[in-house]
């Protein structure tokens, strides 16, 4: 990690950003909140947090002109971390908000947990990364979600977990990491993952 890297965190309406900011600060990074499309597109490191509903979050991103900026930086492989709902926002759609289009970076649709499990999923579940993952490691991490992806997006490496069937715990491709779980709430394992992500080399503009 470069000394005290500047990490922009997208200010979405309802997310509890304090945990994300604190997690980054504990690693020596300097987190800054932003809603500026130019900063979102070109930041060396960007976190897209997400708590709340799919439709509301997409509206919020759209109203600040951030959807294209996010697509651009992910296609350019700039270090980007999408957390919880942030991962689902990369999909085409979600059962949570029918008719609302996501970023469409992942050709998948998020659905609600099914089967005899309590929803939301709240707690620590084990993830198993596929061979080929560079950032993700096996272990227990903290989830707080009612919706999830269930298929592997082409061209991405994934980590799997189980809750009423197999679901996507995380995806990674190059410098882009999407976690259904909360690394900032996953104790030492989560802090180590954030540290590995922060050691990705920023891309020249």
């Amino acid at each position: 990690m470069t000394s005290a890297p500047l990490v922009f965190v997208v200010r979405t309406g309802a997310a509890n950003l304090a945990s994300v900011m604190a997690g980054l600060e504990r690693l020596g990074a300097r987190p800054r909140l932003t809603r500026d499309p130019a900063e979102v597109a070109s930041a060396d490191y960007l976190v897209l947090p997400g708590v709340g509903a799919f439709g509301a979050a997409i509206d919020e991103l759209g109203s600040h002109g951030l959807i294209e900026a996010l697509r651009e930086r992910i296609e350019d492989d700039r270090p980007s971390l999408c957390v919880c709902l942030g991962l689902q926002l990369l999909a085409r759609s979600s059962e949570e908000s029918p008719g609302v289009s996501g970023l469409g970076v992942l050709p998948l649709d998020a659905g609600r947990f099914a089967g005899p499990v309590r929803v939301p999923q709240l707690g620590w579940n084990r993830i198993e990364p596929e061979p080929g993952c560079r950032l993700l490691q096996a272990g227990h991490v903290y989830f707080a979600n009612s919706y999830r992806l269930t298929e592997k997006p082409p061209g991405w490496n994934v980590a799997w977990s189980e809750y009423g069937g197999r679901f996507v715990a995380a995806v990674e491709r190059g410098n882009v990491l999407g976690c259904q779980f909360h690394p900032e709430l996953s104790s030492t394992l989560g802090q180590a993952l954030l540290g590995r992500w922060l050691s990705m080399e920023p891309q020249p503009c």
């Binding site: 950003l17 945990s19 708590v51 084990r126 809750y163």
Partner: protein, 250 residues
């Protein structure tokens, strides 16, 4: 597979951790930041911080306590106590809470639950239910147990989930601080009545008590005095739970 959660609870007042019996007779039990950090290192899965301050000054201190705990803590933090509206909840979340617990205010105006769920999500909306046994079952008590409501706890639990609660923090008022074990019958009834996770609270004194609760429908178990008093550690309790056949994160 999701693991069973062990959750130490910090009751705080004026920036210090306190503990009483049946919500009364509070005594000092330490510094919240030091305890929070120690519990995370021992393997706590989550922390609950309940502010039991009675004054506006105390409430201001609670926000500061949440900020100080958040700085060091990298596991989830639920904060409750005195949340009257979505604005109170928003201040706690900004200070560093991941989930917000509501109790008395939700009983007085149940719309609050939906307001929190719409704005922050169900996974962030914890409804705390304090249950006291009566002739027919369990009656909801509010205002730190000082006021009985006549509301049936099992029905109330089902109702709050219909309108947006994402988790139930179920405390037996009769057992709180007594070390007599959780009210297992209450736990079983409530966990069957809802589809969201249920945290058992009130009365835990041993790993055996936690094991009983997890075997009777609890998804998580909360305890305070057994950890604060240094009788045992979170890690030792989780190792005992694993030996008893519970699936825990070690």
């Amino acid at each position: 597979m999701l693991t069973a959660r062990v959750i130490p609870c910090l009751d705080t007042r004026d920036g210090r951790v306190v503990k009483g019996i049946r919500f009364q007779g509070l005594r000092d039990a330490g510094d919240p930041v030091a305890l929070a950090l120690a519990y995370e290192r021992q393997g706590a899965d989550e922390l609950v911080l309940l502010d039991v301050s009675a004054t506006p000054e105390g409430r201001g201190n609670a926000l500061d306590t949440v900020r100080r705990v958040r700085r060091v803590l990298s596991i989830p933090l639920t904060v409750g106590g005195g949340v009257r509206n979505a604005e109170d909840a928003s201040l706690l979340l900004e200070a560093g809470a991941d989930k917000v617990g509501v109790n008395t205010a939700a009983v007085e105006r149940e719309e609050l639950i939906g307001e929190l769920a719409r704005r922050f999500g169900s996974q962030c909306t914890v409804v705390a239910i304090d249950a006291a046994r009566n002739a027919g079952g369990w009656e909801l008590v509010v205002r730190s147990g000082k006021q009985r409501t006549g509301i049936d706890c099992v029905r109330w639990a089902a109702r709050v989930c219909e309108i947006g609660a994402g988790e139930i923090l179920l405390t037996s008022w009769d057992r709180d601080g007594t070390h007599a074990g959780y009210d297992l019958e209450l736990l079983e009834r409530v966990s069957k009545a809802v589809t969201v996770p249920v945290i058992a609270s009130g009365g835990a004194a041993s790993a055996e008590h936690l094991h009983q609760a997890l075997s009777r429908g609890a998804d998580a178990v909360l305890a305070a005095s057994i950890f604060h008093d240094g009788e045992t550690t979170v890690r030792a309790v989780k190792q005992d739970l694993a030996r008893l056949g519970q699936h825990v994160r070690l």
